[in-house]
Assembly symmetry: C2
Homo-oligomer: 474 residues x 2
């Protein structure tokens, strides 16, 4: 046992310090692409213990990688260098009492998102962030990656939902920014800076989150559309006619539906005829006095008159509503069961979605003829999960994965979008960021990192190259 | 003429460089508390000219103060040291075509907020930031101060409405972050950091702003309430019953109403009886199919049954609606006409508004018996404009202004709120920030400032003390 491990073990006790082989469940990332056995896993029980861990590591020159629910897709929450400490806040998972008059709640960073959802249910309040991993993802990780999800276009991303933060800084001091107000212009917006910093500027230990009243009624429809241009046009119409209630505006295409239906035999397709493109539309309202079904039916009829929509069904029960959502949400699972796949997390201005899909297909087929393309995602904010399967009957991508990824990322960038929409950069996308973002931008980020973490021990090599590996961005 | 003035004049030409005495209109702040004659006013015509101004000043060691519409209330946009250059983007006021499918627009930072509102009108879109100074305030200043206003609790503050930015950095390089997507997690959230930085980290030259569909119907009511506790409780009920439409939730009290009625004789009070507290409630919806009037009337009836509301009137015409708003918005003018006044810009968690008002009154009357208190503001986000007039018949505050300000700021801070809710720190509140925020927080901000503006020439002495005057925050 090294001196550092001994010091951490002494501070944290048996429940708070795991050594190999007990560290194995923490060692690899979700997609099993990154991670070696760490020196150990620190599981502190409170903010002062987190601060002590950071100070011990800082003195010893030991790198710290914070890990939430370990559901990230970019390899940002595991160790890649020997003698790294993984810091897990899984023992700091307390959820406070919500304040309904202020619309806020205090939580510890280790709380699981789904547990927060459950805790709020009896209070008629929601924390409106939803994503596939919500059963495992922890608040600290969601803050670190500035998580988005299906409802972000209505309620915002994590940075829009954080009112206050407590952060253990790289030198082991504690910043108490646990305020509970939206309007706080007393200096730089530190709370926003820590959202999306991927643990490279400090460890978020507690947060005051913004809550919303729970919807008391919903209307959900599944629509078939002739093409993506129609989806964009119909999306604009829905925002105009039902903008206040629109809480889901998900798109997918027939190739993805086919993968889900093929691999998940309990799924059934509810419309009369298949269409090349589908929209899942959901309206939700706090007031029971809004004619949501009427508004949605009438938008749907209007869409059909304009030939933007070819077919559609309104969910008649909660079970049917859940089934409609599964048709969209099981697509990653359907594609995973199909075999090898390539994932891209892209955003473009929503009005450019159709243009991106057309140009992206041309690019992909030019690089690897026959590659199967499955774009799906969130039309409301132009977030496309652009996933690929190999050409029919082939096991892989013929070594073209990198070329395809770079070309799609460049296409999105040229359209005013992003090649890292909601999953962050982690380790897997820093080379893309170095290529596609200006030297000025990367230098700005490096200055921030070096100013707040001069020794570079907080999650090194994530979001930016480690200091000694950055040549220069000039 | 100094060498710097000569160099700037050569680059900018006669329209682009003003020397004294032509600089006089730019010299003093809105409240006439700060400002000396600057070396000159630079009025560049484009981003490259801005960059050239910054490079020339940087080489010469000349400080730059960016000035938007000069409507700030904290003295952050004028010169206080000799030989300072004021940088005005008033010649960079172009407003692009809105993109309705993406819900965004590109504007130059010198555009006036009201001009943007007007430009959007024919498109059925809104930029939902509204505040008293909108006829003069410019987009760059609104970004620099992270402006809030009356609709922030529904649509967000400036930082929530900025998708992309172009910024001339302190070394004269240009950061092009003009992306047009909400979801961009490729590194630190630079766009959020520049919002509210008060021009201390660079000059915002262009921005991509988020647009919303224009409301097509509104319902507005003026209510009298028995006390602030009732206002908080009724606010919670309104968020639950009409949360999606609530676009105004303003409070004021009888003392403030009286000042407005006294000094603005064309104002009339529309209710049967005066109440100690008033709420101005406005619902707005994009869909014409929502029974907004019914929803508001029914909430109002329910409030009366619960004795949260004692009287109320729904606006029956646009003229009446405008009149209701004037009763709230003319309060600063009424108070100004009454004579000497003290302004405080405070936020507390909305649920603590009543407690703040009670404790604040006790504090103020303890320090200066008889001081007249006029709290009004935005209940939705707990933002209180807590303005004072001297005791009846007295000309001033007996030298107690500072003591009152510090006590109120400490009260708000202790409640999880802020002493600088939406006006920023500027010059007038940095001492408060040094007193009331932790050394850790002020040190974090100083690190950011020094990392991005190492020579300290960008708006020195604003938001933070100038480097040489900061002893240490430890």
């Amino acid at each position: 046992m090294t001196d550092t491990a001994a010091a951490l073990s002494a501070v944290l006790g048996a429940k708070g310090w795991l050594s190999p082989p007990d560290t194995t469940p923490y060692a690899r990332d979700w997609l099993d692409r990154y991670g070696i056995e760490p020196l150990g896993v620190a599981r502190p029980a409170g903010t002062q213990e987190v601060a002590e861990v950071v100070r011990i590591c800082q003195r010893a020159g030991v790198a710290i990688v914070p890990q939430g629910g370990n559901t990230g897709l970019c390899g940002g929450a595991v160790a890649v260098m020997p003698d790294t400490v993984i810091l897990s806040l899984s023992r700091m998972a307390a959820i406070g009492e919500p304040d309904p008059d202020s619309g806020s709640i205090l939580v510890e960073a280790g709380a699981v998102l789904a547990s927060l959802h459950e805790a709020l249910e009896p209070h008629g309040l929601i924390f409106p962030l939803h994503l596939g991993a919500e059963g495992s993802a922890r608040i600290g990780g969601l803050i670190g990656t500035n998580a988005g999800g299906s409802h972000a276009f209505r309620y915002g991303m994590m940075q829009d939902l954080v009112l206050g933060l407590e952060v253990v800084l790289p030198d082991g001091t504690v910043w108490n920014g646990l305020r509970a107000v939206q309007k706080d212009n007393a200096g730089y917006q530190l709370r926003k800076l820590f959202c999306g910093a991927e643990g490279t500027l400090g460890i978020v230990t507690r947060a005051v989150l913004k809550l919303h009243p729970a919807p008391r009624q919903r209307a959900t429809a599944l629509l078939a559309l002739p093409d993506f241009a129609a989806a964009v046009a119909f999306g604009t119409e829905l925002r105009r006619e039902a903008g206040e209630f629109l809480s889901g505006l998900e798109f997918f295409c027939d190739a993805g539906l086919e993968l889900a239906l093929k691999h998940l035999p309990d799924l059934a397709f509810p419309l009369g005829a298949r269409g090349p493109v589908y929209l899942l539309v959901e309206l939700a309202s706090g007031s029971p006095r809004i004619p949501l079904d009427d508004i949605l039916s009438s938008a749907l009829e209007h869409g059909m008159e304009q030939e933007l929509v070819t077919d559609g069904a309104l969910a008649m029960s909660d079970a049917q509503r859940a089934h409609f959502w599964r048709l969209r949400e099981e697509q990653p699972e359907g594609q995973r069961l199909e075999g090898e796949q390539l994932k891209h997390d892209i955003s473009v201005p929503p009005g450019k979605l159709a243009a991106f899909i057309t140009a992206g297909q041309e690019i992909c087929h030019g690089i690897l003829p026959g590659v199967r393309i499955n774009p799906f995602g969130h039309l409301g904010d132009g977030n496309i999960h652009y996933n690929l399967s190999p050409p029919e009957g082939r096991p892989g991508f013929d070594g073209k994965a990198g070329e395809i990824g770079r070309a799609l990322a460049a296409l999105a960038t040229g359209m005013g979008g992003s090649f890292a929409a909601e999953h962050g950069l982690g380790r897997s996308k820093i080379a893309l960021a170095d290529d596609l973002r200006s030297a000025v931008e990367r230098d700005l980020m490096a200055r921030l990192k070096d100013a707040l973490d001069p020794s570079g021990l907080m999650n090194p090599g994530v979001l930016l190259k480690a200091k000694e590996e950055r040549k220069t961005f000039e």
